[in-house]
């Protein structure tokens, strides 16, 4: 009898939880709760792509924080230019973008683009959208440096506050995406973009539902819609792909990749991007001011093994700084090869030897002991650091690894000798970004205080050079100078992966991390 009461009590509890939808608030299930049977049957016949990701935007308003990256990936918003597989910009919502003088650009928009509410996209609507974004997100002003905008039909004339040679690359950044801001709706919940899919609902950090925009200017999307599930844990993400609950998984950890090698069931599409594993030297430390020490450390890293064994091919190596596949990537002979003996010889020749026989070389009479800090959220970084520490011992250097949840404080205070972080070096495909913030003296991301007059001079030229070929040459020259100086070490660049069911068609990974759903994606 008592058992019966207990069972009834539990059943009531679960029943009540089900009825209230656990307090999700919306009161309406995005999957179609409360719809008639025929409607649900129609839904079952629809071509719905199910995506799972561990990362999520805080809203669907592209002006907020970095939410634009997600609205772009989910096919809701688009930009005037897009990045190709080599991270080079090509026109998308714009027909062309012409430079009139150093600070004036004339953008001609496509004539056939409509927002998802049917309204035509004009220069006036682009202007209104950018004005709104600039008012909400201070980062916008550092992408395009817009001073004034003049709209005339499909022509938008933009003047900038300074010379912006990478203006076209800036037009690819999802933050410059276009929505109809005069629609009167709430862009955080229901943005009206120009993409192949329009937002139906978004429960923050839980689920986003999009449906196809049939009148999409690029042609009718092949899928009827998509459901994007936000999953809080990578193990859950892996299991959801394994049991077929998700068609496409984003942010799959490298360690799980070996579960998806069966080509009859899965299709793993990965390309190297510009997210580099970068080692910073702290130039406030006299030991690291020694070129020979920096060169020796550069030579104790077996980059090939790091990428293929430790990182299970989830990254590619580079002997330079920038990704090898880019126009300004490293050339044969650039950088340093793995050579433990060579590293020892360099240190010996510089007079950095182990005099007291304790296995550690001394610098000005003191053992060389360095702190290498990194963080744990990128799983490969602590593994790389431990391997460096182990190799360093072989050449008589003591490198102690410190792993933190975040190294933000260390970046600000300079509390490190060596620091390894994962950094997107060319988010919009242009070399200038990384050069400006990291390689230039006083750059906001130059945490170790690297300074090289020749490099600064070259970066200043790059900042005002408009000719593409010249820019490429300058970027290469900057890279060569930094490498000769052993100023930074880049171990390699992470691959950006989509793990898909074998029935997913029309999707190719782009190294920029900006794109996912497009009009050609569907489930067979």
């Amino acid at each position: 009898m008592k058992r019966k009461w207990m069972a009834m009590f539990l059943a009531m509890m679960l029943g009540a939880a089900a009825l209230t939808g656990c307090g999700n608030g919306s009161g309406e299930d995005s999957q179609g709760q409360g719809k008639s049977e025929s409607e649900q049957s129609d839904q079952e016949n629809e071509n719905i792509v199910v995506v799972a990701d561990t990362q999520a935007p805080t809203s669907l308003d592209l002006a907020q924080s970095w939410d634009s990256w997600y609205t772009s990936r989910w096919g809701i918003t688009e930009t005037l230019y897009m990045l190709d597989e080599n991270l080079e910009p090509y026109p998308w919502l714009a027909e062309s973008c012409e430079m009139k003088d150093d600070t004036t650009w004339e953008i001609t928009l496509r004539d056939d683009v409509t927002f998802q509410n049917g309204k035509k996209m004009t220069a006036e609507s682009v202007k209104a959208c950018w004005e709104r974004t600039a008012g909400i997100n201070a980062r916008f002003n550092e992408v395009l440096y817009i001073d004034t905008m003049t709209a005339d039909g499909q022509k938008l004339t933009v003047t900038t506050t300074k010379a912006v040679p990478a203006f076209l690359n800036g037009l690819c950044e999802p933050l410059t995406g276009i929505i109809d801001v005069n629609d009167g709706g709430d862009p955080a919940a229901m943005p009206i973009g120009t993409g192949p899919f329009q937002a139906v609902s978004y429960e923050v950090k839980s689920e986003c539902v999009v449906e196809k925009y049939a009148d999409y200017w690029g042609g009718e999307p092949k899928a009827d819609g998509a459901v994007i599930h936000i999953i809080g844990d990578t193990s859950t993400l892996t299991m959801a792909q394994q049991n077929g609950e998700s068609d496409i998984s984003v942010s799959m950890p490298g360690a799980s990749m070996e579960l998806f090698t069966d080509n009859s069931q899965y299709n793993v599409d990965g390309v190297a991007g510009s997210r580099g594993q970068v080692i910073y030297f702290n130039y406030g430390n006299p030991v690291l001011q020694e070129l020979s020490v920096r060169q020796a450390i550069s030579m104790i890293i077996d980059k090939d093994s790091y990428a293929s064994i430790i990182n299970k091919d989830a990254s590619v190596t580079t002997t330079g700084l920038y990704p090898d596949f880019m126009a300004y990537g490293a050339e044969e002979g650039d950088g340093y090869q793995y050579d433990l003996e060579g590293a020892q010889t360099i240190l010996e020749e510089a007079g950095i030897v182990d005099r007291d026989g304790n296995g550690i070389r001394e610098f000005h009479g003191e053992d060389i002991s360095l702190r290498l800090v990194t963080y744990s959220t990128k799983a490969e970084l602590p593994l790389f650091c431990n391997e460096i520490s182990s190799s360093a011992k072989k050449i008589g250097l003591d490198i102690q690894v410190e792993v933190y949840e975040s190294v933000t404080e260390h970046q600000k205070t300079g509390d490190f000798d060596l620091m390894m972080i994962s950094s997107t070096m060319c988010p919009t495909g242009d070399a200038q970004y990384f050069a400006d913030i990291t390689l230039k003296s006083g750059g906001s991301g130059n945490y170790g205080g690297y300074s090289n007059e020749k490099v600064d001079e070259l970066i200043e030229q790059l900042d005002v050079e408009y000719d593409t070929e010249q820019r490429t040459e300058l970027a290469k020259e900057i890279q060569k100078e930094v490498l000769a100086d052993a100023g930074y070490i880049v171990i390699g660049h992470a691959k950006y992966y989509y793990v898909m069911g074998a029935n997913v068609q029309g999707l190719h990974t782009n190294p920029s991390e900006y794109y996912l759903l497009n009009k050609d994606v569907y489930v067979e």
Binding site: F9, L10, M13, L14, G15, A16, A17, A18, T20, G21, C22, G23, N24, G25, D29, Q31, A52, Q55, T58, S59, D61, Q64, S65, W66, W69, I136, N137, A138, R139, N141, E142, A188, E203, V204, K205, S206, H229, I231, G232, D233, S235, T236, M239, A240, Q242, N243, E245, S246, T377, K378, T408, E409, Q411, K412, I421, S422, T424, I437, S444, G445
Partner: protein, 320 residues
Amino acid sequence: MVLHKIIMQLLHFVIVLLGISFLTFSILFLSPRNPAELWLAGSDGNVGMISEEAIAEQERIMGLDKPFLVQYGTWLGKALQGNFGISFTYNTPVTEEIAKHMGPTVWMTVISLTVTILLAVPLGVLCAVYKDQLLDNVMRIFSFFGISLPSFLTSIIFLWFFCIKMEWLPVISKGGAIGILLPSVVLILQFVAKLTRQVRAIILEQLEQPYVDGAITRGVKFKNILFGHVLKNSAAPILTCISIYVGLAFGGSAVIEGIFSVDGLGRMAVSSVARLDIYVIQGFVLWVAIVYLVVNLLVDILSAMIDPRIKYNRKSGGGS
């Protein structure tokens, strides 16, 4: 007299909550991280890639450019009117954010605590009565595993077994009862493993008291001693143990919620701390404080009702 006590208690609540809110705000203000910078940098470690000018402008937009006391005073003034601020991350009122995430956590708490109490208390009593016998040994092994296994591991094992191996449940939570079933079971396992041992210890302590020996010597039936005296005397400490779990469960479990994709308070709290969403953190801390204050008050009242000595001590304490 009762009214006076209630008013004093409420006053006490207000002072504690004010203190907690001030302390939390101070700690967040003193944090070396900058909410404006984190907002601009996103969650992908892009800190440092944003210029000082942009950060200053974002601080102005978010109202973080004002002195500490002005910021706290403004927040407090609005909070007293029921406005706990707008979340930096979600751009929605904090009360709305907390209410949205509260549902799953509250339901998981209610279910897991109800089942825990129904299982752990009788099991704890039985383990104490049949000390070192089969049931006690089995429960000892269960508790050992329940306490030692970290919640993330139990969760992943459950997910694998029920969703992949048996295919009884979906991996991706669809919300509702099904969505909170497995996380509730994980919580129940953890709570039962701990509470059973605690109840057992409390009962054993009572069973070793001289009054039990005296009653047995006088020929009183053990059943009567157990239900008439031992359980009655153990009720107050057991209640105190349970109250700790209430507070813990109402705060949410970020790890369990994360693995089962439950959008509860634990996940909200962790992501708010990661992005230094000051007003949401304030709201969450106040929520947990209120839960503890209310639970403590209820435990005090119930303990006084169960054990007259507590009431007597309170009165004598109050009169001295």
